[in-house]
Symmetry: C2
Subunit: 285 residues, 2 copies
């Protein structure tokens, strides 16, 4: 048996096409959807991510303004920019590219951002609304995971999902999404991490296994139940190039479906960010 490959690139293309239509409808009604990105310092991966968000946004008909600050930017300058964009009705979504330069408190910056413009879904208010089951923006990567499953006809409802990794960006919000009543939720969810004593025991229980820790090939073939769906959120730069947290070649022999790296969850993240932005513009217009 060899697993179905869950094509994140194709799925992200669909999402972006839908975003483009919605953006066009908004412009006809006089609203030009716009995303503001706060980018501080010169951390190379951040430069790359921001450029790809900018390009994808512009292709989908969303204007993207990047506010660039030097490594030496002060707390007040960053807070000032977030405050200005909170007030600026021509900007519908705002993201703060993380990490910020050392010494700056990203939590403080995020807490200032208006939840109505928090298209990354990372402010405490957005995360709290998620836990409370209230409407709000969902973080891009975890919502990309559930979207990718959904568009491939895979439902988590009633099934056992094991998430390896408890990060604030992926593992914990994903667990909370999968526990929602109805919609993408209704799963029985287990969260594992570095302190889990028997990772294999938990991973082998999973109908759907999600790896999000950032350790190359952590998930081996023996850790997967035959027929499980395996989602790889890891992106690790190694001597062999970009690899995920899953030993793809071994696991695809056992899984019924698997996401590749690259080309799996990665492209979904940017697409979901754009969808949140067009949704923000629709709500504000």
């Amino acid at each position: 048996m060899s697993a179905v490959i869950l094509d994140g690139k194709a799925c992200a293309r669909q999402v972006r096409a839908e975003v483009k239509e919605r953006a066009a409808r908004l412009r006809k009604r006089g609203t030009a959807p716009k995303l503001g990105i706060v980018l501080a310092g010169d951390f190379a991966p951040s430069q790359i991510y921001v450029r790809s968000k900018q390009r994808a946004g512009e292709r989908a008909g969303i204007e993207v303004e990047v506010a660039r600050f030097p490594e030496s930017v002060s707390r007040d300058e960053l807070l000032g920019r977030v405050h200005d964009w909170n007030e600026d009705t021509s900007v519908h979504g705002v993201i703060v590219q993380l990490p910020l330069p050392g010494g700056l408190d990203s939590a403080e910056v995020l807490e200032l951002l208006s939840p109505d413009k928090d298209v990354d879904g990372l402010t405490p208010t957005s995360l709290g609304r998620l836990v409370a089951g209230r409407p709000g923006f969902l973080p891009a990567t975890p919502s990309g995971v559930v979207e990718l499953l959904d568009r491939n006809g895979i439902t988590a409802s009633g099934r056992r999902v094991t998430i390896v990794g408890r990060s604030e960006l992926v593992g914990k919000p994903l667990a909370n999404i999968l526990l929602l009543k109805g919609g993408p939720g209704d799963a029985t969810v287990t969260v594992c991490h570095s302190r889990t004593r028997d990772l294999g025991a938990s991973s082998r229980e999973a109908d759907i296994l999600v790896a999000a820790v950032g350790r190359p090939k952590l998930v081996t073939g023996e850790m997967v139940k035959p027929g499980a769906v395996v989602v790889d959120v890891g992106i690790n730069r190694t001597d062999d190039g970009l690899v995920g947290d899953v030993d793809f070649e071994a696991v695809k022999q056992k899984a019924s479906a698997i996401t590749p790296v690259p080309g799996g969850v990665g492209p979904m993240t940017v697409a979901m960010l754009l969808r949140n932005t067009v949704l923000a513009a629709e709500k504000q217009s």
Copy 2:
């Protein structure tokens, strides 16, 4: 074998005694800790809960002011009271007793409450800070569960915890607390609920099993691994009196430790609320 009974009454008494000392220290420094409770309508259990919070607060040296509103209270009156207490420096903690009378949106009222005074830990900001692993107030019942375990020398770190129930008040925040790095966290956590297909399979994996659904005797002896710790958060009024979600007589033969109902988690909830209030007063003074 018969399980050790985890005495919530005794444990809550310890917590309240510590709160009393801290409150006395605060008063010596000129701050009289004060809790404001918004109580709307005449739902009988709410009247009882509020009275017990008031009594426990006053015994611990915390002034408690109850703002009572009729069933017909308007949204603006409630929001106005929360707003006033947000601004009032003599009030350190505020809780909104739920449920509110029909037609009133409790989420809207909670979103207005200052996170610095949110001693029930139920505002979106507090829940989001919990998910993000940032300092903030933890909800009283789930933090009562971890406190009760901790004071009985039971650690969740590295162990499998299964939580039955995914409510916003207990199940979901408790899962997020147990997933924190360090402290009361580092557990491998599974959350089950009404859509879980094989509840027994998940419950039998648990080193620590927490039941929080509100269904009398849902957890039977067969659902518990021998030697597990069982925490019963349920409070159900039945013809047999107050019973929990756990079949106490059967389960205590298998568990190594178990909380009774009443006298287990219940008393901890009020004690943790008072501890949050004195903490709020310390931070604000």
